[in-house]
Assembly symmetry: C2
Homo-oligomer: 219 residues x 2
C-alpha cells in the first residue's frame, strides 16, 4: 500500500496564501520563485515553505534556481482542487448570508453557492444576485436536485441546531457553520465552525500581550 502523504490543518491553511502571493508575483512579471524568497515575503520559516512546496509540487525544484512560478501555481490549484466545481447550499439570508452569496472570491476556488433558503416570508421569492430565496420547507426537494456537498449555516444561534438537523436529513455531508452555536450532529457529518468569538478571543489576547510588553518597556 502506498503511504499517503498526510497534510496538516496549518499546512492546508497556508496553501491559499502561497497561491495568492504567487499570482501577485506572476502578475508583476516574476518567472521563478525560491523558498527563501517566499518565506521572507510571507514571514514564514524557510523549512516550512520548502516542505509545503515539496508536498504540493509535481516536479522537483532546482537548486539555486528554485521553481517555475507557473508550474507551482498550477500544482497549488490542482492540490486545492480549485479546478473542480464544488457546490453548497446556504440557509439564512441575513446580512452575513448575503455577504457570502455575494463574495466574489469563491469563483476563484471553484466554489459555488447553488441555492439559498430562509423562513422569513418577506424574503422568500426575492433574489440575491442570481439566486432566488426558497422557503426552508423546500430544502429536501431542492437538495435532491442540486445535490450540494456543503451546507452553509448563517442563521441565528437559536435556529442553528434545527437547521443543521434538517440539512443532515436532506443528505448534506458537511456543514460550514457561521452561527455561534455548538452543533450536535452524527459523527460522520463534517462540521466546520467559523467562530467570530474564537477569532476575537485570539486577537484580543494578542493585543493584550502587546500592550503589556509595551508597558514593561516604558518602566
Amino acid at each position: 500500500m502506498k503511504r499517503v502523504n498526510k497534510i496538516s490543518k496549518n499546512q492546508l491553511q497556508r496553501l491559499p496564501a502561497y497561491l495568492y502571493h504567487l499570482q501577485m508575483l506572476r502578475a508583476s512579471g516574476v518567472n521563478r520563485v525560491t523558498s527563501p524568497q517566499i518565506a521572507k515575503d510571507l514571514d514564514l520559516n524557510v523549512e516550512l515553505v520548502k516542505k509545503d512546496f515539496a508536498l504540493v509540487s509535481s516536479t522537483q525544484g532546482t537548486p539555486r534556481a528554485g521553481r517555475d512560478i507557473d508550474d507551482l501555481i498550477h500544482d497549488l490549484i490542482k492540490f486545492l482542487e480549485y479546478d473542480k466545481e464544488s457546490t453548497a447550499i446556504l440557509v439564512g439570508c441575513g446580512s452575513l448570508g448575503r455577504a457570502l452569496i455575494g463574495y466574489r472570491g469563491f469563483d476563484d476556488f471553484g466554489f459555488n453557492i447553488v441555492a439559498a433558503f430562509d423562513n422569513n416570508p418577506d424574503l422568500i421569492g426575492t433574489k440575491i444576485g442570481e439566486l432566488t430565496i426558497y422557503p426552508l420547507e423546500r430544502l429536501n426537494e431542492i437538495q435532491s436536485i442540486k445535490k450540494a456537498k456543503i451546507g452553509i449555516i448563517t442563521v441565528t444561534a437559536k435556529a442553528a441546531q434545527l437547521v443543521a438537523d434538517q440539512l443532515v436529513k436532506a443528505g448534506i455531508g458537511a456543514i460550514w457553520n457561521f452561527a455561534p452555536a455548538n452543533l450536535m450532529l452524527p459523527s460522520d457529518i463534517i462540521v466546520q465552525d467559523e467562530s467570530m468569538a474564537s477569532s476575537l478571543a485570539v486577537l484580543s489576547h494578542r493585543l493584550k500581550m502587546k500592550e503589556r510588553s509595551l508597558k514593561r518597556k516604558l518602566k
Copy 2:
C-alpha cells in the same frame, strides 16, 4: 518574577465555546458542571477540558462535584475580558462590512464597532444602524477622537494594503483582516487574517478524505 501561565491559540479558541455551552446549560437550570460532562458535550478530550478550566478558574473544583456553573461562567467572562469594552473601526461598507456592523453577537463580547468608513460617494453619509459612513479621508481625524484599538478591513483584496497602511498611520495597533490579501506591515502591528480561502481549503480537504474512506468501504 512570577511565571505567567501561557495560553495557546487553540486553548483560547476553545474558551468561547465553553462559555456559550455553559450559558446554555445554565439557562436550562444546571447548577454545577464537571469536566467529563463538558468534554462529552463538546466532543473534546477530558484532560484538555480539565486543564482549560484550571487555567481560567479562580477557584479549585471539588472532586466528584465539579464546579459551580456561575463561578465558571464568571471566570470565563473575566478571562476573555467580555466585561471590558473594546473598540474597533471598520473600513469597507460592502455586504461583509455591513454584516459585521450588524452582528449582534459582538455585544456579548464587549466588542464595539465605533466608526465605519468607505470611499464610495454613494455610501458616504448614509447610515448602517447607528453608524454613519465616513469618507476614508477622515480616518485620522475620527480615529484621534475614537482611539479604537482594532481596525477591521472589509475592502477588496486590491485596496486592502492601502487601507492597512492608512490604519497604521492613524495609530491602529491591530488589524482584523477579512480581505483575501497578504498584508505587509511593520512587525509591531498585530495582523489577524480571517481567510475564507483557508477555511474552505480545510473543509474541502476533510470532505475529500471522508469521500475517499467511504469509497474504500464500498469496495
